[in-house]
Assembly symmetry: C2
Homo-oligomer: 105 residues x 2
């Protein structure tokens, strides 16, 4: 019942591997277990964290639980990143400025 935010959840290396896997196609738990070469409980626990953070959603199909990504937190992350974009555009602008300045004899 922790409720950690999406970014913190995604940051963990193993969970990022899970997220990267789910990006291309939805997966069952055993799918992920074989991909990550980790114990099933470990994977289930990571999935629980991701679920409670709203990063993934699960649906039941027969005995399997199919996990897929939830777009929302990625949009949020994108929104958070937005104001940082001018960071490197400004950087490039400064660089260009510098080059122009240098070419003037």
């Amino acid at each position: 019942m922790a409720g950690m935010d999406a970014l913190t959840a995604i940051a963990e290396p193993t969970r990022r591997r899970i997220v990267d896997a789910l990006r291309t196609r939805e997966c069952s738990v055993t799918d992920l277990v074989t991909m990550l070469r980790m114990s099933q409980p470990a994977v289930s626990k990571h999935l629980r964290v991701l679920r409670e953070a709203g990063v993934v959603t699960a649906s039941t199909r027969a005995q399997q639980r199919i996990y897929r990504l939830n777009p929302a937190p990625f949009r949020e992350l994108d929104a958070w990143l937005a104001p940082y974009r001018q960071l490197w555009t400004r950087h490039l602008a400064a660089l260009e400025e510098h080059l122009n300045e240098r070419d003037k004899p």
Copy 2:
């Protein structure tokens, strides 16, 4: 000597506060200490982590060390996020499709 990656470094709540503060203007350590209302050693340690992850750079000015953001990791984060963008564009497309379908009697 850990060498954690940028995303993991940024994910930590306190460090995200530092990064958010540095986004608008560069800061000295004491600046950050007063902002975060935390002990100076704690701030210095977080700055060390951010430094080793390449998130920030430091320069010396008198006795102060001025910290500023390094654009690179944010570009990397943006690049990592890029393939996820189609996640919500697809999502929107599907939604629109669904609405169109529903309007046909």
